[in-house]
């Protein structure tokens, strides 16, 4: 059901028309410009990743270099090429390190989205490009945070957003290229301190929308990660620069 769709929709990507917008944490809390790009309609699935490791054995769980993936890497796989019986091929792939996700995208001629690109597409709901002011938008995202084992669901079961992109919310967290460039440190109450100007942004004091606590949690999870981490609730999707200027 999913596969034909992917082929039908020009390699499974849609074009995103870039624009200026104010993210929850801006660089200096100001407007950010997002250029045109294309994004995967769905997160990368287990089946996609099985094909990938067949082609690139260095990312198989027994062969992966320890520096690039921690012990949890593909822990839901039976062996190097097979999922555990409990896992579905069309669930989003998780237990993936940033290195693996990045390489996957690059091997497809794509790359990981930046935080700004990801947040820009993800602030849309089914009808509006910037739905952040709507109560229903936050409510849906938060409902996901409270739903256990959502990573085991299939892709594409949530309605697509106004761009035509599925599952940005509701299944898994997703890796971004610069996931650690906006830092919520371990001590998130101090992040407004200018001491942390080593990093591009900081937490609460610099946030533009203190009620957008769903977004807070996304920034928090990104801040807690290291590139070799592999997590049950963390997958990814790819983007590429657009030819449209």
């Amino acid at each position: 059901m999913i596969q034909p769709l992917l082929f039908a929709q020009s390699k499974g990507m849609v074009s995103i028309k870039g624009s200026r917008y104010i993210p929850l944490y801006g660089r200096d809390s100001t407007v950010v410009e997002v250029k045109n790009f294309e994004i995967d309609i769905y997160p990368v699935t287990n089946a996609d990743f099985v094909s990938f490791v067949k082609k690139y054995p260095k990312w198989q769980k027994s062969k992966v270099i320890k520096l690039f993936a921690d012990k949890s890497y593909l822990t839901n796989w039976k062996n190097d090429l097979q999922l555990k019986d409990s896992e579905k091929p069309d669930s989003p792939v998780t237990y993936i390190s940033w290195f693996a996700a990045k390489d996957y995208c690059e091997c497809q001629g794509k790359r990981l989205p930046t935080i700004d690109e990801w947040e820009y597409v993800a602030m849309a709901d089914e009808t509006t490009k910037d739905a952040r002011v709507k109560a229903s938008y936050n409510k849906q995202i938060l409902a996901w945070y409270e739903a256990p084992r959502s990573n085991e669901n299939k892709i594409g079961e949530h309605p697509k957003n106004v761009w035509g992109v599925h599952d940005l919310h509701g299944l898994v967290w997703e890796w971004t290229l610069d996931f650690n460039s906006v830092l919520i440190t371990g001590e998130s109450r101090k992040d407004g301190d200018k001491d942390s100007n080593l990093f591009c942004g900081s937490a609460a004091v610099n946030a533009t929308d203190l009620m957008n606590y769903a977004a807070f949690m996304r920034y928090a999870i990104r801040g807690s990660l290291k590139a070799k981490y592999s997590m049950k609730n963390l997958g990814f999707r790819c983007v590429k620069d657009s030819d449209l200027k």
């Binding site: 949890s72 409270e146 001590e187 109450r189 992040d191 807070f216 807690s224 997590m231 049950k232």
Partner: protein
């Protein structure tokens, strides 16, 4: 000195223990017997490793007693899981150790605590821990920020004795606390706290749900209510009824009880009180200051109190936040059940139930059930309606709406020349019948209060409304019993 005092002021007891201990130590010659005093807690040496005993509320670990300072290993797991706030109301709690409040940690001054914070792989969110017992940046939060499926380790020296709160401090901090991420860590002084018969762990917290108090189903967290500090639930130990009925804490007459009480907040301070018991000693705010003979002790959000008392008589003693609507309407209610012999000298119990009639038998009694006894003498004329209506008004409505129907500014709306009243007679009847909660606008002024359902018969409602409509410049409407019955039966 009473028995009560000897039990709590345990100096003689402690001395005797010391004596025995030193005799024992003298007999085992190779163990150093230097009773060295350390001016600075940081200099207290640690001696061997030990895995900390962690307990779920309302239990506490074994007292530290005379043990030497150790390297104490604390392993605490973070679990995000569904629980029940009250019957039929589910909530996703974020927990330290699977419970709200989190596991109780018991240490002594000079311990070097090696803290292992473990974030379960099934969790969705990163977390950390800020222990108020830590001297160091973020109370440990800085070193313990941990992604799901990972474990962070950091270590700290317990420098100050006292009872301390710990909590999660990951953004949005308030939300992590509001979802239950708090607990207590006790740092006992050198030589331990005086021994008591029973010790319990109780922690208050306020919860904010999308639905109102009691609304069933899985209730998500409501950030706006939390920001406004309008709690739907204020509870002890994470849920309504965590300390009542079969879950009540217990003691026997004559026993000494110590309560380690914390307040996780996030928003509200607690006026902690035990109905029918006086606290013999309170470690104010969990510190060294001792207050004696206390009725209610204030526990700040993010603060604690250690409360000690001896139970003298049997019965059920109710633990409350004496901001009392929280206790009886939002859940901040627990029970201490005390078994044993009655002591009539201290408390007699009910002795007699006599009739008391200050003004003779003509006085109107309050109906004791939901059944409303219809007025036996219906009004036969408009004049009688006005007369009976005025009586009913003076008994039932006067206190809030005042003698001339002028109301109380900002609290109770006026009835005199009231546009709200005059606009809709059926609505007015409904308000008297069913009560009214929430915001209304009367003569351009907003009111937001509660009028309870009135215990009046249909005749009495007809009379009192006729009186109101025909007084103070109102619309002179006459309300009949039939009109009241119509509204009553319309639902």
């Amino acid at each position: 000195m009473t028995l009560k005092h000897t039990l709590l002021k345990t100096k003689p007891f402690v001395l005797s223990i010391k004596l025995i201990a030193s005799v024992l130590l003298l007999m085992t010659a190779c163990i150093s017997n230097d009773k060295k005093e350390y001016e600075n807690s940081a200099d207290i040496p640690v001696n061997r490793e030990m895995l900390a005993e962690l307990t779920s509320p309302p239990n506490v670990p074994t007292p530290v007693g005379k043990r030497k300072a150790k390297k104490l290993i604390v392993k605490m797991e973070i679990l995000e899981k569904e629980g029940e706030m009250t019957d039929g109301v589910k909530y996703i709690y974020w927990t330290f150790g699977g419970t709200v409040p989190g596991s109780f940690i018991r240490t002594r001054v000079g311990d070097e605590v090696e803290f292992h914070l473990q974030n379960h792989p099934n969790n969705k969110l990163p977390h950390n821990i800020d222990l108020h017992a830590v001297t160091g940046p973020g109370g440990g939060a800085e070193s313990s920020f941990v992604a799901p499926g990972h474990e962070k380790v950091f270590s700290f020296k317990t420098l100050n004795p006292g009872l301390y709160v710990y909590h999660c401090a990951t953004a949005p901090v308030g939300m992590h606390i509001a979802n239950g991420m708090y607990g207590l860590i006790l740092v006992e002084p050198e030589g331990g706290l005086p021994l008591v018969d029973k010790e319990y762990y109780i922690m208050q917290g306020d919860f904010y749900t999308k639905g109102a108090n009691g609304e069933r189903g899985l209730q998500p967290f409501d950030m706006q209510k939390a920001v406004d500090e309008k709690a739907d639930y204020v509870v002890f130990n994470g849920k309504v009824g965590a300390l009542t009925g079969d879950n009540a804490i217990t003691a026997k007459v004559g026993e000494t009880v110590r309560l380690f009480v914390g307040n996780g907040g996030p928003g509200l301070v607690s006026s902690f009180h035990v109905i029918g018991e006086i606290f013999d000693r309170v470690h104010v705010e969990g510190g060294d200051l001792i207050n004696e003979n206390v009725q209610t002790t204030l526990i700040p959000a993010g603060g604690t109190a250690m409360i000690e008392f001896k139970v003298d008589v049997p019965g059920t003693f109710i633990l409350v936040d004496h901001s009392i609507f929280r206790a009886f309407n939002k859940g901040a209610l627990g029970m201490l059940k005390v078994e044993g012999e009655k002591d009539k000298k201290i408390y007699s119990g009910e002795i007699r139930d006599d009739i008391y009639l200050p003004e003779g038998p003509g006085i109107q009694s309050m109906p004791t059930t939901g059944e409303i006894i219809a007025s036996e003498i219906p009004a036969k004329s408009f004049e009688e309606q006005m007369e009976f209506g005025k009586q009913a008004y003076m008994q039932t409505c006067f206190a809030c709406h005042q003698a001339e129907g002028q109301g109380v500014p900002n609290a109770f709306p006026p009835l005199a020349k009231s546009d709200y009243l005059n606009a809709d007679v059926d609505r007015a009847i409904g308000v008297v019948l069913h009560g009214k909660t929430g915001e209304i606008t009367v003569n351009g002024q907003k009111y937001n209060s509660v009028m309870t359902r009135q215990m009046l018969s249909s005749d009495e409602i007809a009379n009192v409304l006729t009186y109101v409509y025909n007084s103070w410049g109102n619309s002179k409407k006459v309300v009949t019993k039939a009109m009241v019955e119509k509204v009553k039966n319309s639902k």
